[in-house]
Symmetry: C2
Subunit: 656 residues, 2 copies
């Protein structure tokens, strides 16, 4: 149905007439337009496109010769082919400095994080060698620093050890870890390939802040074992068990030499962090502080032989690069399904972290990241990693920030880091033998401090109380139960919020702003005045099955309240109800039923039912269901002002 | 923060100035209002109130003396105390006719439905005796007819028999049925008491239509057993198994005498239905046809002794009213949990049906139904029923419609029906001994025909294609798998639709309607013209974590497309982006982050970022997060027209 526009009429325009008090009651300049009908196939493809290809990935391919399409296709899979062509010496200078900086930061972190995942230290280093290389070829973020991260290591460690005890069955445990890594990669690549990337958007920012904060606390608490030199430590991750374990060991379990080393270096690291924070020029101070701590403490232990006084050391760290682990992955048996489950969860969390980092830095430098392509890159990277003795790697918040501040230009900084890790694996690992665990614990604590984002939590509290509940719920869930429970709480609250949003849309009463034809919420604009005899209600959401009954009943309740008020104040009774439909973006069959019922109720009361400004989708559906004939086509107006003057010109004139 | 209104300024009003080409560039009549800040407690209680007490149940209690409150409280629990006081002889006349009509309809239906639930026929009658009595005292609907219904009977029969074989362990099966009924009641009452009634709104109208249609087909197919006189019939409910069973028995299993009886009475019943439909005056014809069929066929079988020629008959039906079943309910053991599960599902479906009926007829007669109170009534009714040998009862679509058409006035018609069922149980049941099963099958088929609502499905197809997918999915799920699978499909698609809605909100480009200051979607209003140098985008939904990234990227893509178009057409470059926020009803932390990132991207491009008409909640949160300082408080306008004239007065003047 084409829009029957009255634009050719030589009529005064509505806004003008209302302000001059000339009310033309019967005709208005514009009618509510009915958009041209699309055929079913087009409507369907448009919906699919907006849902799955919102970023229009084929856009550059349009109108290109097929040879060019081939090149563009290769570049789409390997972005390095695109940015590599314009790579320059100047960019390399930035990348090499950044790469060396993140390498010095990642080596001690990797060793610590591997312990969080209950794996031998070299597996952390392995995961900083192969995955960054793969990512450099396939990833599209220029600033992300790839490698093992604290939260995923913790999550993996918790979930894996609930299946297999790592101290008793180290080999099987490791095999399950590779299996989980493999399926984490498959999950990530599949989500990206099926363009289901938007699924990770269902974890709200607030839930992530809480989850990360809780994970930071849990990780820091776990480090008390290394920092205090406690030998018999609980295996449960919750704060109650850990504190019980810590205080239970206070008389016999603590080792003062360990504590001394730990506290000294923790203070040093936190001080370095403080300096880096105060002056961004000194960002490199906290970046190299961990490596300095490792070197100093290792040398100290080696000289004093503190390991004989109960100071625990790394002791054994394999030399050489990643061995193959293809035949260690479980492709059958009971561990296949368990690996799949753990991998899927760990993969999603890793994805969430990487995509959040990628987006943050992309918006800082103003380039676009294709979320789905990014997921495929991360997925392939983890699949390759799982076959080369790596566990789940992703983008690290802290190292990516350092990478950015050190002036990285492209993913080449990841290649540089990878090379340094390679050299470390080949030549330096034996030197880590005497590194005390206390220093690793201190490094991890100082690294996860940044994940505990009080500022963000305060902002969330200020902006949205319900968001804060999600944040707090996720935090408490992680701290008092486990990362999995915390995650579950976060996801549940996030979903509940979405459901609440669609079940209970807001409604508001509109009033006329003095000396204008603009109608606005009277709560927001106290100067807005109600028009006598007319109630104007705005519905603030699509009307769907989940809220149609609520909307109907809420509008009737507004009407009832208003009728009571009017009666008490001896004002003219309500004769018309105008529903401002601008924010009603869509309506379904239940919604139309609700409007029909509303119309029936209003008819019984002798109140006119008028709609203002229904949008394209809504008007199409109202016509499809013949609703416009039910209430009368002349009861649908372009603006609230039109609707008001149609039903009560007298009163309007009185008021103006 | 109080709204700093400029309403006292002696300025020309915006709409006037634009039409007269006087563009006052620096000042506007009204600023965007910031609603007065509410304290946390008030905000919280307001949210809780809108979510759980949207219908304001305590409204009548306000400002009443406490003795009056007591009376009102009793009336709230037992509405009969309220409407009973104004009960009159005139009303009773309507009720008695309606009650007798639904009684004659329910007796044969009850016997058939009990068989659907794999229970002996008298249990159907029991369920039409006690529950309607309880409901009459506690329920608030005046038109609903209470008793066993086809869909719930089928659902219960399917789920119960997957736990216990009713032919082998009839006693245990029955006990589980009472247990499920008990927990169905508990579920219903709990949902109502906790005011969680809105949960049943999550099953969309479309999904219900499909589910009901599928259940109708499944039930009708099951009746082929009785109608064709097949002895060995499949126990699987899906269409493939049933048809296989029917055709496999064609040579030996069918009984021609049974078929004769069945087909004759089915034709009679359908013809009666047709007459009732053609002329609403004859609504009583289809209502008494079932009882007539039962009487005639029973007499016929008794006279001809057709039961000896293979015509299956009811054979045994217990005389007397409901025995107690309190001690038959499983309150411990493995069947406790199973009963709970089955009861919860059956209770929800029963609830859905009853509430839908209640709402439909309430809106026809224009009275209000309190959904939550209604649920408590239904719940208590089923708990009492489970202790008096009833299985799950609820409101029946077909009988409620008959009740309504027969002119019922109050729930007294249910009491009348209950009395008739009582007399039947006490005196007439032995007469049903020779009733052929084929007639019961015919009665059930003619009853469920109405559940298969093709008209509604066509309307759904016309209005919303995605709704139709939900409808079809639920239908096919029930027909080809089972009621449970169909229900699962319906719920899943309903949820997926909600999630899709919040993940992919619509965005649109606005243009100016000629000779007005109104800006509208250019797809809906092809006559609307873009303002040169300015892009106006409307976001059609709250901006939440689930869509914030999409919204940001979609707006940037609109901008990119527009920049390309403008370049190709040699028009002025885009210098301002106005985001029309009217439909943006809420924003959370993720949403504000997205706006900040959008602002940063636009700054890099040298494009101004302007907001028009943010609502009360949005503006409050923008202020809480200091966003208004980031983009500049003078970049937030009351209307799009204000925003446009602020950034391009020259062009506007040129155009007008």
């Amino acid at each position: 149905m084409a829009s029957k526009s009255h634009s050719n009429d030589e009529m005064d325009i509505r806004s003008l007439s209302s302000s001059r008090c000339h009310v033309h009651n019967t005709q208005y300049l514009h009618k509510v337009g009915v958009p041209p009908k699309r055929n079913l196939f087009r409507e369907f493809t448009a919906t699919v496109k907006e849902t799955f290809f919102a970023d229009d990935p084929l856009r550059p391919f349009r109108d290109q010769p097929s040879s060019q399409k081939l090149i563009l296709g290769a570049q789409a899979i390997f972005p390095i082919l695109e940015w590599g062509r314009s790579y320059s010496w100047r960019k390399f200078r930035g990348d090499i400095i950044a790469g060396l900086t993140i390498a010095s930061l990642c080596i001690p972190q990797d060793i610590g994080y591997a312990k969080l995942a209950n794996l031998d230290p070299q597996y952390g280093l392995y995961s900083s060698f192969i995955p960054p290389l793969v990512y450099a070829f396939m990833g599209s973020s220029r600033d992300i620093a790839i490698g093992p991260v604290a939260v995923v290591s913790l999550l993996l460690g918790t979930m894996l050890s609930s299946e297999i005890d790592p101290s008793k069955n180290a080999v099987e445990y490791r095999r399950l870890a590779f299996t989980a890594t493999f399926f984490a990669g498959i999950t990530q690549a599949t989500l990206g390939f099926l363009r289901l990337g938007f699924l990770i958007d269902f974890l709200s920012h607030a839930a992530i802040v809480g989850f990360m904060g809780g994970a930071a606390v849990t990780i820091a608490l776990q480090q008390l074992k290394g920092l205090l030199g406690i030998k018999e430590f609980t295996k449960k991750p919750d704060i109650v068990s850990v504190m019980h374990s810590v205080w239970g060991n206070v008389h016999h379990g603590w080792n003062w030499q360990t504590i001394l080393i730990g506290v000294i270096f923790l203070s040093f690291l936190l001080f370095a962090k403080y300096i880096g924070k105060r002056n961004r020029k000194f960002f490199w101070v906290p970046s190299i502080a961990p490596l300095i701590s490792v070197v100093l403490s290792t040398f100290f232990v080696y000289v004093t032989h503190a390991e004989k006084k109960g100071v625990q050391i790394v002791r054994n760290i394999e030399k050489g690069i990643n061995p193959s682990s293809v035949n260690q992955i479980y492709f059958s048996g009971e561990y296949l399904l368990k690996g799949l489950k753990i991998g899927a969860v760990a993969g999603m969390i890793a994805l969430m972290e990487a995509v959040a980092i990628g987006r943050t830095f992309a918006s800082m430098k103003d380039y676009q990241i294709d979320g789905n392509k990014e997921m495929v890159a991360l997925g392939v990277m983890n699949v390759v990693g799982s076959m080369t003795s790596c566990y789940v790697a992703t983008g690290s918040f802290s190292r990516s920030a350092v990478n950015f501040m050190a002036g990285c230009e492209t993913a080449v900084s990841n290649i540089i880091m990878s090379c340094v890790v390679f050299l470390t694996l080949e030549f330096i690992t034996p030197l880590f033998k005497y590194t005390p665990n206390a220093v690793l614990a201190a490094i991890i604590i100082s690294a996860v401090v940044g994940l505990f984002d009080v500022q963000a939590a305060i902002l969330i509290w200020k902006i949205d109380k319900l968001d804060f509940v999600a944040c707090l719920g996720a935090f408490l869930g992680v701290v008092f139960a486990s990362v999995e429970i915390g995650l579950l709480v976060a996801v549940t609250i996030s979903f509940a919020k979405i459901l609440l949003q669609v079940t209970r849309p807001r409604t508001a009463i509109l009033g006329k702003l003095p000396r204008s034809s603009v109608y606005r919420n009277i709560q927001q604009y106290p100067e807005a005045a109600k028009v006598p005899g007319i109630l104007i209600v705005m519905v603030d959401s699509a009307i769907y099955f989940s809220n149609s009954n609520y909307v109907k009943e809420r509008i009737l309740r507004w009407l009832m309240d208003e009728e009571e008020r009017v009666k008490a104040a001896c004002q003219p009774t309500i004769q018309s109800l105008i529903v401002e439909m601008s924010p009603v973006t869509d309506i379904d069959t239940s919604g139309i039923h609700a409007l029909e019922e509303l119309h029936r109720s209003l008819q019984k009361k002798g109140v006119q039912f008028i709609l203002a400004n229904p949008g394209p989708v809504v008007i199409e559906k109202l016509y499809a269901s013949n609703f416009e004939n039910l209430i009368g086509e002349d009861k649908i107006f372009l603006t609230v002002a039109d609707a008001v003057s149609s039903c009560a010109p007298k009163q309007l004139v009185e008021e103006v």
